[in-house]
């Protein structure tokens, strides 16, 4: 399977800008993107529609040209050494890239042969990938008869034919049903385990959280924040704690008791629930419960939750992610 031999960054991006001009308007798609992807890691490029994720990928795959800034992929400059970049990458765009009137195997063989693979080698590699993706049975049928999840796998398999060093996956699970999405996640995890460098764009927080070792959150053509998923979550101080009361009437008393407690911040209440942020949920929980017990408050439920990427997004982009995606 694909394996990266070089060490150091597989992708470097510095100060990329791009503006799309149409007759009546200008859209600043990228406003100075910087990022770096270590070889052999999965980088998640996360952001709402129009944030600049796909534009970044199109520049890195040599489809589009940046207005300014530099980028290298597998050690080659995307603007000056486009041919070398193209040989080193695999690209799965948002739209299906296979020929629906060709069989799965025909699509795979052609995808390999344009990289110079001999016919026999391409056929063997196609069989290997069909097997790996569980598509052997379907391999002889026209791709247009396949399910959406299988077609997406075919797209990924086609981009792996020539054993690329860097794989770009632009929203690989958009439009897939939950089972197909879970399958695709498993495939991407296996690619990562094989040491392939993957740059993945997504607007699903849980997808980025699940698959990526490094995350870059982009918004309006800029990098909002980057880091590991856990690091980003830790950077939000503390955990969220939520206490539901058995008796609504106890709420003022409970609020008063917790308001004085050390280390409890951002205390808020609604009908029968108190919410607060604490430095460390596991440490704070006994104290919170002890204090409420001492105040004579009966509890219905208590939950402690680690910050989610949604909280990270809210903190750094200033909006909740769900609202942004829905917009």
């Amino acid at each position: 399977m694909p394996r990266t031999t070089r060490s150091g960054p597989a992708i470097t991006v510095a100060g990329l800008t791009k503006t799309y001009r149409t007759r009546d308007r200008e859209v600043r798609a990228l406003d100075g993107i910087d990022l770096e992807v270590e070889a052999g890691t999965v980088m998640g490029l996360l952001g709402p529609n129009g944030a600049g994720k796909s534009t970044t990928v199109k520049i890195l795959t040599t489809l589009a040209r940046a207005d300014s800034g530099t980028a290298t992929v597998a050690g080659h400059d995307v603007a000056r050494e486009a041919a070398a970049v193209r040989r080193a990458i695999g690209y799965v765009s948002q739209k299906p890239g296979f020929d629906p009137i060709g069989t799965g195997k025909e699509n795979l063989v052609l995808a390999g042969r344009v990289y110079g693979m001999p016919a026999r080698g391409a056929r063997a590699r196609a069989d290997e990938l069909l097997e790996r993706f569980g598509l052997t049975e379907a391999g002889r049928r026209l791709a247009r008869t396949w399910s959406g999840g299988m077609q997406r796998k075919l797209d990924v398999a086609m981009s792996l034919m020539h054993r690329p060093q860097v794989l770009f996956l632009d929203e690989p699970t958009t439009g897939l049903d939950p089972q197909a999405r879970a399958d695709m996640w498993a495939e991407i995890e296996r690619l990562a385990a094989d040491g392939l460098t993957v740059l993945l764009t997504t607007h699903y927080l849980e997808e980025a959280d699940h698959l990526a070792q490094q995350l870059v959150i982009v918004d309006q053509g800029r990098v909002v924040v980057s880091g590991t998923p856990d690091g980003l979550k830790r950077s939000l101080s503390g955990d969220a704690i939520s206490v539901s009361l058995a008796e609504r009437d106890d709420l003022p008393r409970a609020y008063g008791a917790l308001a004085g407690l050390d280390g409890v911040t951002e205390l808020a209440r609604d009908l029968d629930t108190l919410r607060a942020r604490v430095d460390d949920g596991a440490l704070a929980l006994p104290r919170v419960m002890g204090t409420l017990d001492a105040a004579g408050v009966r509890l219905a439920a208590v939950t402690v939750s680690r910050p989610s990427l949604d909280d990270v997004y809210l903190r750094y982009a200033g909006r909740t992610f769900a609202a942004e995606v829905a917009a």
């Binding site: 040599t62 040989r87 990458i89 890239g97 009137i101 344009v114 110079g116």
Partner: protein, 258 residues
Amino acid sequence: MTTVITHTRLLTGRSLRTLGRQPAYLALTLIQPLVWLLLFGELFRNVVELPGFGGSSYLTYLTPGVVVMTAMFSAGWAGTGFIVAMDRGVMDRDLSSPVSRTALIASSLASQSVTIAVQALIVMVVGVVAGARFDGGVAGWVVVVVAAVLLGAVFAALSDAVALLVRQQEALIGISQFLTLPLTFLSSVMLPSALMPGWVAEAARFNPVDWAAVASREALSASPDWSVVAERLGLLLALGLVLAWLATRAFRAYQRSV
């Protein structure tokens, strides 16, 4: 260079395989020319009594003209293949792979040429069955096919370039239709130039459709003037190469838009 040829062969194979699996498409594109051939052949049957036709039947005059029209109309659709590839992710996959732009255009022209050659032969055979008589023999038929293929390459390259520039099916078809009918009537496809108003005959001399029609008819005549045939075919080849080169440049326009 060998890479370009390999890529052209692979991509042409893909297109022809698709065509082979949808033979109804090839059949459909033949209905229109056969209707022209048989309808116009009947309608204008007596037009040959006018001077300028050289004494043959109108069907004999018209058949190579319908071959030429078919090639032009058929090739005008070549760019729709690019638009489908752009609407899907196929174009983006090809352009981010080592596939050369030249091979993308060349394979489009090559697969188009196969279609046009088959169509040309079918139209000729139907013409003969309906009563057309050609004196030129095998060489004449070969020239008819070559002229149709070259004219097809001219229009296919134009169609590909326009597809990359406008990136919209409707706009491409609109432009193609806007060009094809006037170019047909500004040529000797239906009527010999001796019967045209002076300015139309003059315009026809610069019309690639006329070049193909003149070369075909000349080659099918009893004693062809091969210099006329060679000149017209040479002009078609030169124009086809220029347009094919321009089409490869049009990828830049597409890539600016993605």
